[in-house]
């Protein structure tokens, strides 16, 4: 049941331009966004994106690195992981 989905999570202070910063990077690499949800959890801005990396032009490591660096610049903690991790841990 291997698919090419990844989960991008963003944690930190809410501010203008978070989504545009990250979606630009995704668009440049041909990564399609399947779903976005965002909430404020205990004063923390929390965003979860489900993305399709099957057509991604760069390696997963490189994509992850650019998201991480872009996040760091605006004080956000960004993570990108293959979605199997979450499915495997929480579903039998």
């Amino acid at each position: 049941m291997k698919d090419n989905k990844a989960i991008v999570t963003v944690l930190g202070q809410d501010q203008v331009g978070i989504i545009s910063t990250l979606t630009n990077i995704l668009a440049e690499s041909d990564v399609n966004i399947l779903d976005i949800s965002q909430t404020i959890l205990q004063d923390y801005f929390t965003m979860i994106m489900v993305v399709d990396v099957s057509k991604c032009k760069v390696g997963f490591g490189e994509l992850k690195q650019s998201l991480l660096e872009a996040g760091e610049k605006i004080g956000l903690q960004v993570n990108a992981q293959k979605s199997e991790v979450f499915d495997f841990m929480h579903r039998i």
Partner: protein, 456 residues
Amino acid sequence: MPISSATGQEILETIRMVEMENLDIRTVTMGISLRDCGHTDPKVSQQKIYDKITKYAENLVSEASKIELEYGIPIVNKRISVTPMSMVAESSDIDTYVDFAKVLDKAAKEVGVNFIGGFSALVQKGFTKGDMNLIRSIPQALAETERVCASVNVASSKSGINMDAVYEMGKIIKKTAEYSKDQDSLGCAKLVVFCNVPEDNPFMAGAFHGVGEAECVINVGVSGPGVVLNAIKKHPTVDFGELSNVIKKTAFKITRIGELVGKEASSRLGVPFGIMDLSLAPTPAIGDSVSDILEAIGVERTGTHGTTAALAMLNDAVKKGGIMASSHVGGLSGAFIPVSEDAGMIEAVEVGALNIDKLEAMTCVCSVGLDMIAIPGATEAETIAAIIADESAIGMINKKTTAVRIIPVIGKSVGEVVEFGGLLGRAPIMPVNKYSSTAFVKRGGRIPAPLQAFNN
């Protein structure tokens, strides 16, 4: 969130476990059989060993690093275990095996793993010529190599306790301490004496690739004391039935991650997946402590009355949760209680709550044994042997694995502290009983195997 099956809350739970609670894959260990590497000429044998390890494990570190990156789960150690070296080196016409340890060290460095286990011998019933040669090579081998780990199984529930081996190991531990006295007797941290040793354990220093194992396998050890600790802290007043459920659910989730990583590593490396070992293995990092879990269960300090029962409950619940999460659970699976590697244990020793006698009692219900305990350098070999005999007796009678990894720190005595650094942590020197066990140890021979019935 319909597109991924996990909910937003579950996704954040996973992230929190990794980011804040030190959830990690403690080790991906490749087990390699060296049974086809024996030769009468030791040089030929050593070349075969080197070639085989470097060929099989060539991509181990790079593939594990890729998995780590893609899944966002840290894989702290990449390691190798091999067939007990006494069986491989035995065919060669020499009587010291230090060069075999050196070749393991060289191969480990070449492929980039931080430890290689299997400088080992199984002597629960008696020694072969090769077993004796290997055991006598241990002090020098550990002093002259960096990444090699040694282990010796001296007892089992089926065979009893080989007291000659126990005495020998008492002397070998002393000698290993002497050989590495410039590094606070660090050699002893790489040497484990076992009873009922598991043949598929991925954790060091006791890992080796058992004789009943396949040509090459991937075993995974996962750890997460911090995750269990936080789950327990959220339920400060629930009864033990409910608490056990909380631990089981947490252990299940941790083990699933290990299962995923193990399957992925196995398919990428083209090597069968052996077992998942779910062990709560503490590190000196704050919050990554088994002692903290016991204190969260309700004892004021680890070591006070109630500690053994708390540990028994924890160990059992961890196994129950983990077993359903993986197709093959093996190794040691349970809770480790090393002293020097666990900040909470160190504190408990320093305030006088925890001593070697209580630790011995705790080993009756934990997954391994007396682990990473520093004792005075002046302790006699006979006393160390008697400590090994006691631990072996606990394992033999209770049909469980027990082990002794004890460090007589040369030049130090009770009241002093030894710093090993890194994952090995620091240890206060603990006192041992001042009365002699010499006459007991010197009897020699074997303690017969126990009855397997009338268990009262």
